[in-house]
């Protein structure tokens, strides 16, 4: 039997529950380990980012209203989707570099474990972060958490799958929506992740994944007023740009230093403190009386 010509995949970004090319029509060429052409990946623009924020804004209220149990099941299904395609994900992380295959497998495994970890948090963090407060007056006073809304996630170049998903998960666990920019140098795993997000029952628009140049997108992440918090790992110059922009609308900022080594595998990179960074506390004074 003669070799058939393989069908190559056109990488598309997952935005608003659909797979899109950049509105600009621009692409970046991706190469494999032997420097051969692999695929063209969308080079998204600020306009794509604004469109993604609109998609997140539409999805937000519905996602925040889902029951904690439901959110947990959806996250767990994401883990199922990733496990089934773990080999493919590992290939995407290594992108043809056989020498990195083992590290890539480890990264994929850690990513799936992280998804399961947060799937278990959806209906538990509230009990740890919230409180009933024994005020001195006749009120039932309680503090509950609420999602902030739309979170801008900016992934570092390294650990292209594990870092990206470690930043996304704590945000969506509590009902936030995410607009994320993937690794600049290794964006392909985010394309596959989008396909898994699309098939795990997560409502479209809850997570929106863009590929493109950080340098082009950072100013818009910084100043877009509908993005209520920024979470990511970026260099010093980008941190300053993001924080300056955040001041304009008192945006919450949680940024790690991309110029320093970050051990994304560390268990400290996950958990209720990560969730806490992306929620608001609301305190209600409810009267007590007949």
């Amino acid at each position: 039997m003669s070799h058939r010509l393989l069908i190559t995949k056109t990488p598309k970004c997952y935005v608003g529950g659909a797979f899109i090319r950049s509105e600009s029509g621009r692409v970046m060429a991706l190469h494999d380990a032997s420097d051969g052409f692999f695929a063209n990946i969308p080079q998204c623009t600020r306009k794509d980012l604004r469109n993604a924020v609109e998609a997140a804004a539409r999805a937000g209220p519905g996602w925040a209203k889902r029951s904690a149990f439901n959110r947990g099941q959806i996250l767990y299904r994401l883990a199922e989707m990733m496990e089934a395609r773990a080999a493919e994900l590992a290939e995407a992380v290594a992108l043809g570099g056989a020498s990195q295959a083992q590290a890539a497998e480890r990264e994929v495994a850690a990513s799936i474990e992280r998804v399961v970890h947060y799937a278990g948090w959806t209906d538990k963090y509230e009990a740890i972060l919230g409180s009933v407060n024994p005020v001195a007056s006749a009120h039932f006073n309680f503090t509950v958490t609420e999602p902030m809304g739309i979170i801008g996630v900016i992934a570092p170049d390294d650990s292209p799958l594990l870092a990206l998903i470690s930043l996304i998960l704590p945000a969506i666990t509590s009902g936030n929506c995410v607009v994320a920019l993937a690794s600049n140098t290794q964006p392909y795993p985010s394309i596959l992740l989008g396909e898994m997000l699309a098939t795990c029952d997560l409502p479209g628009g809850v997570v929106n994944l863009l590929t493109g140049l950080r340098s082009e997108m950072v100013p818009t992440f910084a100043t877009h007023e509908h993005i209520r918090a920024l979470s990511g790992a970026v260099n010093a110059a980008d941190r300053k740009t993001l924080k300056m922009g955040a001041a304009e609308s008192v945006k919450r900022v949680r940024l790690l230093k991309a110029e320093e080594p970050i051990d994304w595998f560390d268990d400290k990179m996950q958990g209720v403190e990560e969730i806490r960074a992306l929620i608001e506390f609301k305190t209600t004074w409810h009267p007590v009386g007949a």
């Binding site: 409180s131 503090t143 609308s249 209600t284 009267p287």
Partner: protein
């Protein structure tokens, strides 16, 4: 003859005119003030290096009370170095149990000196003595007492993780609740094991510097608390000093944003408690007399110098006329005047600048087409005063419905459905607080869930408690003060 049973005039009113005026009931105890206040640095009162002082006046009669030291960058530097030294050598490594005992002492000493602190607060800031006596000072002591008990239990704040203090915390506080804001800042910072450099507001430094005397009486180790009085430049020096690894600020959103910008290139931790334009929402099933008390408390408490003031009243249309009539009758008996008089409800506006700002915004209400009503009550000839004022016919686009006035000015809007109330309440860049008045518990919970505000008061307003986290959504800032949530903002999770 007006019909006494109509909704706009719900009950007979006994009108005495000025037949029986209240006798003056001035508070006369000695606040034990000094003529000159120096900076409190490293456990001692020290003169500012440049020898500059500024006068602080009583806003109720514009007379000078004392000279206050003006700290410059060099003084702030000394304070930060003292705080760092105290953190490294004593406070940071002291067992929590021992730190807690110092805080308990401070709480007790504040209670001992409550009366003189209340008088000092009222003299310097203009608030009614009944408020400084019954609210500010007791609540400040309560905050120290509450946080004292946390000092040896910090590991319960972040289950499964370890916590560590930041080191030196730089704190800048406003003039509306001078000692209470100091307590909100210093008590959790110290309980967590930090040392502080605090700058009080320019117009209200006295109780902060008197607090230095309390620290001395408590035997607090030198340098744990440092108070540097001054103006905006002093605050900027505290915030930008390299030793202050965490910054906590309460004040206007405008200044909060400038702080965020000034720290953009640093790794400093920040909590900001900024402005507000809270909606106080009255449904038609609410107990209206109680609601009217809550409306009055919401906007006229502390002359409206409250970031979480209920400055936008949203009344359901079907009861709007009745609420307005009751409200007008209620504010007619509010007593505006000498803050030292125990019968005074509204004292002096804190400063000439603030009075000008309130006057300007109230004027904009008139020029933009809202209807102004005030009681026309007599105001003292000297000092800064403003009559309790309400605006009807207000639209969402008016400045008085959008901008924080920080004075005794209420804007009244109406709504028909809960959805409309939510839409209007949330239509603001602020998100500090909100009020809901209704007889239905389920409606309280649903409204609370949908209001974009950090604190929601149901059938009450302007309630505070050390156990209850306070802080905002959106442009009202981030971080909380009070409760376990607020305390954790003074620690890093490691």
């Amino acid at each position: 003859m007006p019909k006494t049973t109509s909704k706009t005039n719900p009950a007979r009113e006994l009108v005495f005119g000025d037949l029986w005026e209240y006798d003056p009931a001035p508070e006369t105890a000695d606040p034990k003030l000094k003529q000159r206040y120096d900076l409190f640095i490293n456990g001692a009162f020290v003169a500012p290096k440049k020898g500059s002082y500024f006068a602080t006046i009583n806003p109720a009669n514009e007379t000078k009370i004392a000279d206050i030291a003006l700290a410059d960058a060099a003084d702030v530097n000394s304070a930060c170095i003292a705080a760092q030294k105290a953190f490294v050598s004593v406070w940071g490594k002291m067992p929590g149990k021992e730190r807690g005992k110092y805080l308990y002492r401070i709480a007790r000493l504040l209670q001992d000196h409550a009366r003189e602190f209340a008088i000092a607060e009222t003299l310097d800031g203009g608030k009614a003595i009944k408020e400084s006596r019954d609210f500010d000072i007791p609540m400040a002591a309560a905050h120290f007492f509450y946080h004292a008990g946390w000092a040896d239990k910090l590991e319960h704040l972040a289950p499964g993780r370890k916590v560590a203090p930041h080191g030196v915390v730089g704190q800048v506080i406003p003039w509306n609740f001078p000692l209470l804001m100091l307590a909100w800042k210093i008590a959790p910072a110290l309980a967590a094991g930090n040392c502080v450099v605090l700058k009080p507001a320019e117009t209200t430094s006295i109780t902060a510097l008197k607090f230095g005397e309390i620290c001395q009486e408590a035997g607090l180790p030198n340098g744990v608390v440092n108070i540097v009085s001054g103006a905006a430049e002093t605050g900027a020096a505290v915030i930008s000093h390299p030793l202050t690894t965490k910054v906590a600020f309460t004040g206007s959103t405008e200044v909060g944003k400038s702080i965020m910008r000034s720290l953009a290139g640093t790794d400093k931790k920040m909590t900001l408690e900024l402005g507000g334009k809270a909606a106080n929402i009255v449904f038609d099933d609410a107990p209206l007399d109680q609601a009217v008390e809550g409306i009055v408390n919401g906007i006229f408490f502390n002359q409206g110098h409250v970031c979480c003031a209920g400055s936008r009243l949203l009344v359901q249309e079907s009861v709007a006329d009745e609420v307005l009539a009751k409200l007008k009758r209620r504010i007619a008996v509010l007593r505006v005047g000498d803050p030292m008089d125990k019968n005074t409800d509204l004292g002096a506006i804190n400063s000439r600048e603030q009075l000008a700002k309130i006057t300007d915004l109230a004027k904009s209400g008139v020029t933009e087409g809202a209807e102004k009503y005030d009681t026309g009550c007599k105001l003292p000839a000297k000092g800064f005063f403003f009559r309790p004022t309400i605006f009807t016919n207000v639209s969402m686009s008016h400045r008085i419905a959008r901008e924080e006035i920080f004075g005794p000015v209420l804007s009244i809007l109406t709504f028909r459905t809960p959805e409309e109330a939510l839409e209007k309440a949330n239509n603001t860049p602020y998100g500090l607080s909100a009020g809901v008045w209704t007889d239905k518990g389920s409606r309280i919970l649903k409204m609370s869930a949908q209001l974009k505000a950090g604190v929601v008061w149901a059938n009450t307003y302007n309630k505070f408690d050390p156990t209850s986290p306070f802080g905002g959504f959106k442009e009202s800032g981030f971080g909380r003060e009070g409760g376990k949530q607020g305390l954790l903002d003074y620690l890093s999770v490691v």
